[in-house]
């Protein structure tokens, strides 16, 4: 499972490097709200696995300081929504330190957190905020959709030198998937084709990947072969893989759970229109969350973020099998 893969990555790197440590709310004795850190306290002791008070700005800042001073902190923030309390430390400190010091200082800091809708946890526990971090030069943004990616990317994060925002998804922790035996390290900036296809490229990340795969399976029943591309890291972004897929399919749907306005999908869309305009046989489709806070009511929550039929409809539109919706009045 996704959460076990994350734990394996932390466990293996803690065993290999005594400078790796983890702090967060309820992560020690309790093993974390999502059980990612279960068992680590017993194995590595209270010096390297620490509970913190509810003090996000402080704990993120302390993590950044520890990284500058040469340790390898992982700071677990319960919800990405709560990371907003620590934005100064991420945006003004961690992200800028390398440049401000002329390249002399490095910040090998990792903030692990999770986002997304989760079945009625309402507006302050449901956000997908990757665009906030994507916008800030200096932060790496990692957003795995499958257990093997989660493990390999987290291990890589613990070996590189820059601040990493590691975004998990609350719906993915219990999902299953194969994780290869032995050493698994996945470099940043390498997209993965989760399903090959020739008719339309569906670009999706995090919990939108399983939805895109479900949509692709349904499209296949109609004879449409959709390719599902998961960038896995948004910064750095594997532009080459995206452009190669577009060159093959000539049609693109970008799916994000985050709100549409100012999102990563829009930026990927701009890259495609700039660099692959003449490959396109249809306008790029973006399927995204509505520009609103996520409501508590389950039906409204569902209506707020992309669902499988939305992805299918968008793919059909790129193939001119379905009329484009008129612009909102």
């Amino acid at each position: 499972m996704y959460r076990d893969a994350l734990r394996e990555a932390i466990d293996e790197e803690m065993a290999a490097n005594p400078l790796v440590f983890i702090i967060g709310e309820g992560i020690a004795e309790r093993g974390g709200s999502y059980k990612v850190t279960e068992g680590l306290l017993g194995k590595y002791g209270p010096k390297r696995v620490r509970d913190t008070p509810i003090a996000e700005a402080g704990m993120i800042g302390v993590g950044v300081g520890a990284a500058i001073a040469g340790a390898r902190p992982i700071v677990e923030i319960l919800y990405v929504d709560f990371a907003m309390l620590g934005m100064d430390m991420l945006v003004n400190q961690a992200a800028k330190f390398r440049l401000m010091t002329g390249g002399n200082g490095r910040v090998p800091f990792i903030m692990r957190t999770q986002g997304g809708t989760g079945g009625g946890v309402a507006a302050q526990h449901s956000q997908s905020l990757e665009a906030m971090f994507y916008h800030v030069p200096g932060l790496k943004v990692v957003i795995p959709s499958q257990p093997a990616d989660a493990k390999g990317l987290l291990k890589y994060a613990l070996r590189q030198q820059d601040p990493v925002i590691f975004l998990e998804h609350k719906h993915l922790y219990m999902t299953k998937g194969p994780v290869p035996e032995g050493e698994l390290v996945i470099e940043f900036g390498k997209a993965d084709i989760k399903r090959p296809g020739k008719d339309v490229t569906i670009i999706a990340w995090s919990n939108m990947v399983p939805r895109a795969l479900e949509a692709a399976a349904k499209l296949a029943e109609e004879g449409i072969e959709a390719e599902v591309l998961d960038p896995r890291t948004l910064v750095p972004l594997d532009k080459e893989a995206i452009l190669a897929s577009v060159a093959k399919t000539n049609r693109v749907v970008i799916v994000q759970e985050a709100v549409r306005r100012g999102g990563v999908a829009s930026d990927i869309c701009s890259i495609i229109q700039e660099e692959a305009f003449y490959s396109l046989d249809a306008p790029v489709e973006i399927v995204a969350g509505l520009n609103i806070p996520v409501p508590f009511n389950l039906e409204l929550e569902k209506a707020s973020v992309p669902q499988v039929p939305d992805i299918i409809a968008a793919a059909r539109r790129t193939l001119h099998l379905q009329p484009r919706a008129l612009a909102a009045q």
Partner: protein, 328 residues
Amino acid sequence: MPASAKRANAPSAELLEKLFRTAYKIRVFETEGIKLYRQGLIRGYFHPYLGQEGIATGVCAALSEGDIIASTHRGHGHCIAWGADVKKMVAELLQKESGYCRGYGGSMHIADISKGNLGANGIVGAGTPLGVGAALANQIKGNDAVTVTFSSDGGSNNGTFLESLNLAAIWNLSYVLVIENNHYAVSTRIEDSTREPDLYKRGLAIGVESHQVDGNDPLAVYHLMRDAVQKCREGKGPILIEAKTFRHMGHHVNDPGKYMPEKELAHYKERDPVDRARNALTEMTGIDKSQIDAIEEAIRKEFDDAVEFSKASREITLAEFQQFIDSY
């Protein structure tokens, strides 16, 4: 106290000279730096440490190699007291490649990571969590290094003050938080910012050993800090020190500081930290005026040489900048 013990505790001539040299060097750096600013050679912001020299001087004299400091936007004094190379500091202010940050950082971001200076900081209060983090890193590494954050009355009203000092406390970190209480957050009086202007009491409230000292007395700061460092190395940290002081001018070079009452300013100027360091040296060691003059002359020459060095240095090129463009 027996006479022998009293003598053992008396400051050595070496220490007194060191305190004076440091305080005077900061004074020269800031006074001459302002001239360079007025000449247009230094651009951007420049927050002088004039009047507060006693704090950085006393604190850093009690630290050793391997210890770590985190500074503020008013950070030149901390750098100098920490032993920074004045040449590389001036070069940074003149945005030259030979500067500490190769001209990428400027006055508010001078840092020397390899030597344990985590840097000045443009965000008031941000050095507190960063310093606590460095102390945590040292605890993880298992060494007995002490980390010091210089913060301020302004910084102490930021939320991270409580959050991070509290973390240092529950984890027993080897950490000293020095609050330079210069009475003003930019232009707002401390009395207008809090109902309790004796800021050391905030440490007491969360179980942190806390002290107050006259920040304009370098020797008093040194003695308090020496004890704090000792306690930290024995695992009895963290410790908070509030050092009362007063700026000699406004918040930055272009702030005339008209809101600062003349009488109060005069009171602190009569207790000028550089004069006090000089007086302590002459009174306690009997060093004569010509020797003091020689020390001052050498420090002024060091600064002039640094200016010449910096003027002769080149700026970073756009081609070199590409390194960052490509990797960000």
